[in-house]
Amino acid sequence: REKMWGILRQRGIDGGGLSLRRTRSASVSARSYAAGSKEMTVRDALNSAIDEEMSADPKVFVMGEEVGQYQGAYKITKGLLEKYGPERVYDTPITEAGFTGIGVGAAYAGLKPVVEFMTFNFSMQAIDHIINSAAKSNYMSAGQINVPIVFRGPNGAAAGVGAQHSQCYAAWYASVPGLKVLAPYSAEDARGLLKAAIRDPDPVVFLENELLYGESFPISEEALDSSFCLPIGKAKIERQGKDVTIVTFSKMVGFALKAAEKLAEEGISAEVINLRSIRPLDRATINASVRKTSRLVTVEEGFPQHGVCAEICASVVEESFSYLDAPVERIAGADVPMPYAANLERLALPQVEDIVRAAKRACYRSK
């Protein structure tokens, strides 16, 4: 009998814990999930997300250059052609305008395309379709025709790829009403946001980052579940702090976290917010954080004028002006097309030192 009680007690603990975890994954929470013992690269996270969504819904298909036989230009769609066949994984000719338009037309007619751009720089050849036929259609047709399409691909600077391959398009796409723009950082972000994007009934621009593809992140059990997804429009507080708020997205989140550690050594406690969603922008979380810390530093990789940071700064100044103790700080890429030389490229992008310096300036601790 004691053995039985022992077993029951065990089961009770496990059963309770399991149900707790299940409800946690179903709730909308911006808290960090429990760090699991597993690690996953962003590449694998994206691949598994597309795989699961394709197997769950036969209307989902993938279209893009080199997504099939080449296994994906960056190997994100590896194995999908073998698993789902050429009727669901399309290797297109080099016709961005054409195949993006075909994706939009297929979405009009009820399918759920996932259109890959080899980099978002090439999306400029198709931007008419992303904006005029996808983003604006639900409005122009007064709700009759919605466009459940996902445009995904690497965005922003890579390593030494030159000016025409390094632009960040977050600001351009995020200024268009009718689009949702997401920018994941970690593997969990990548999985959850991509799954949410594919299930979403509206056009989503999914901005990945080539340099993050190979990075490994710890991933929790909940995130590995096939129905896991993250809510669109909610930012995540990666690190709690009380002295200064650092708001950023994509690769810069990693830099901001490193900067926060350096600042902690000097006694400044920085709160790092990972936007995850550029449109809709989570103004509530940003403003709540600024009202707590009274100082704001925003970081992005793209061009400074009319950038994402400009919008965040304007939003904070409009809504939380009386809470601010220092001018808002904005760090962006240099106002030049991306140079090729490695040292110049380094100068053209924000680095950890730049974030540290700006945070110190905001805290009146700069030299």
């Binding site: 036969p58 000719p93 037309g105 979403d200 909610k234």
Partner: protein
Amino acid sequence: MATSFSATLPLHGSQENRLLLPPIRLAPPPSSFLGFTRSLTIPSSRRLYHAHAARRSPVVGVQEVVKEKKVTNSLLITKEEGLVLYEDMILGRSFEDMCAQMYYRGKMFGFVHLYNGQEAVSTGFIKLLTQSDSVVSTYRDHVHALSKGVSARAVMSELFGKVTGCCRGQGGSMHMFSKEHNMLGGFAFIGEGIPVATGAAFTSKYKREVLKQDCEDVTVAFFGDGTCNNGQFYECLNMAALYKLPIIFVVENNLWAIGMSHLRSTSDPEIWKKGPAFGMPGVHVDGMDVLKVREVAKEAVTRARRGEGPTLVECETYRFRGHSLADPDELRDAAEKAKYAARDPITALKKYLVENKLASEGELKTIEKKIDELVEEAVEFADASPQPGRSQLLENVFADPKGFGIGPDGRYRCEDPKFTQGTAQV
């Protein structure tokens, strides 16, 4: 094959009742493209050039379909079909004339592009389609919407910017959408509708092959001669032929892109020739004759429904008015306008119906009167309708109400376990 025809045709002059050849057999072609030429071609010096050029390729361009006058009693249409065609064309013409009047009275605003003169193309193609077939058009889309079944009231209200319009006043003249009638727009950018139409055709094929549904829907894309110099057009010709999509590319070649003549802007003005370059049949047809257009359309639609792939149809037509109501139309020659005005498609059909005793003048007059009343009633309806409410400004930006992925039950859509059709297997 007939060889009696040897004179070279002038580029844009085709007389109507040219009795030329042995009867054209519109028999279904065998599975390879070669059969297509057997049914519809007329040899000419130009076609011979083409046959040589296309010797290796299985597709040969078709040049002209001539409406034949058989001695026997089988005409191209029955009385009912004739009356349907006539009514549709009269509706298109009256509606567009009324639009012009309303514009000059200030009830319509912005850009309005009228379709007068081109009715044969819209009627000829769209009256062969079912409700589930899709039509994609350009900014000159009022008559395409009407032919497809959108009510005159809804289109007129949309033009007036009223809430009872087909898009609740949010689209306007250039953006006619109707999910019910599968009118997928109405696009302002030249060439924008072509990839969207190709995507709708792609969905047809996907539904058949992947989702295993019975789907015979075809898509018809209408666009102009100016669009045929745009990159997207060629990209889509390539992919439609590559994937064998059930789509018909209809070029409404009215010779003018605002003030730019087609001959001034195109290296090879014969657009039908561009089809075979991509592996699909290219047909040139007299777009001022609804019966000829209808015969070509029948063949193209049947091909598409059978899964044989796309067709490029160039309809030689003309717009009687300017590019838009704001266009002073100074560059077009009066003689050219007069020449095409003499080939008015409505007059031609009327003549055909009366001469072949398919309908009496009285019956046709009744139809005209009925349409006049319909259009006037549409104007009254639109006038009386209210403008959209202020809250409508922010509606419909996203399909989901708040844009956060929240469904109507207040929960996140992505967390609904029933959102997918199957279970995810990893």
